[in-house]
């Protein structure tokens, strides 16, 4: 942009400052108290909240993974299988479903999920896992899983 005089340049500087503050106030629009409208307070609050948002991107993933694990563990323990045994058994059968999918199956497709627990149980028993063999409950007798190659 061409400034024909020093006066124009000064005006421009003021406008820049306006838009710079405007950017911050847009982010602080929903805050409570003076942090909404006083720039000195608003910029601190905005920087603080942006820092939280940066950290929260990681925490959100961790929280969701934890919630899925809780749900899968709850679903599998209803059928007598513990969470680590379920994941290990499915992995050995080449069933690579992630935690989100398993949790959704546990809620919305309980019969499919029970079948998965039974596959894992049978596989772990077949591989001679001591903990699984000592588990309480009647193991499924109508499930066939591929045997390990070793």
């Amino acid at each position: 942009m061409v400034f024909t005089s020093a006066v124009q340049l000064a005006k421009r500087a003021g406008l820049d400052q306006y838009w710079k503050k405007r950017r911050i106030f847009r982010l602080s629009a929903h805050y409570y108290g003076r942090a909404r409208n006083c720039y000195v307070l608003a910029i601190r609050a905005v920087h603080r909240s942006l820092a939280f948002a940066t950290k929260a991107r990681k925490f959100k993933k961790e929280d969701m993974a934890q919630l899925w694990e809780t749900r899968i563990a709850a679903g599998s323990e209803q059928h007598g299988v513990k969470y680590p045994h379920l994941r290990e058994g499915l992995h050995r059968c080449n069933i690579h479903l992630n935690r989100k999918t398993l949790a959704d199956l546990a809620i919305w497709e309980p019969y499919t999920f029970r079948a998965l627990t039974q596959i894992a149980w049978t596989k772990m028993r077949q591989d001679g896992d001591r903990e699984v063999k000592e588990m309480d409950g009647i193991p499924p007798n109508n499930v066939v899983v591929p045997s390990s190659k070793n």
Partner: protein, 178 residues
């Protein structure tokens, strides 16, 4: 929505009443199990903001078992808020005063401290022996399996079972039994 779907939804979201027999159980081991049922973490629909916790009725809390010498070593601290208002109560003293308190405090500690904690605790009913009020007994539909097997006590020395048990050698004639 079909009749089956409707019933499935009722059953999914209904509050179940569980019975827990605390006889010969370590309260600090089974507290996490009870807390899990109170918070609803045993259901696949669990969410921290979802009010899906169940009711738990714990009976026989007078007959809990503490490991090792914890009855005389475990100390419960209380402070009235006034100067000199601190008290330290041993586990056996607290158990004498209120036989449900040790299990109650154990479950309370097993629940994470948040706004739901007190509400969650209100779903726990504790009874020192196996006498439950009828209106509560009528609701119970499930039993939580106790983690530890209950040991069988030694039979009465005068009983036939004790007398007929095979012995390696008889006691000497002049041996005085206590």
């Amino acid at each position: 929505m079909s009749a089956l779907q409707r019933v499935t939804q009722w059953q999914t979201f209904a509050r179940t009443w569980h019975l827990f027999d605390a006889r010969w159980q370590n309260p600090f081991e089974c507290s996490s199990l009870i807390a899990k049922h109170l918070q609803g973490r045993h259901k696949p629909i669990y969410h921290p903001l979802n009010d899906c916790g169940d009711m738990v009725v714990a009976i026989n809390t007078r007959h809990i078992a503490l490991a090792s010498d914890e009855w005389i070593k475990r100390v419960y601290f209380h402070h009235t808020g006034y100067p000199g208002g601190a008290t330290w109560t041993l586990a056996w003293e607290l158990h004498d005063k209120d036989p449900t308190m040790i299990l109650k405090k154990a479950v309370y500690s097993a629940i994470k401290n948040n706004l739901q904690r007190r509400t969650t605790m209100q779903r726990l009913f504790l009874y020192p022996d196996d006498k439950i009020p009828d209106d509560i007994l009528a609701n119970i539909t499930n039993q939580i399996r106790s983690p530890r097997p209950v040991p069988t006590p030694l039979p009465d020395p005068a009983s036939e079972e004790f007398q007929s048990f095979p012995r390696i050698a008889p006691f000497p004639e002049d041996y005085v039994l206590k």
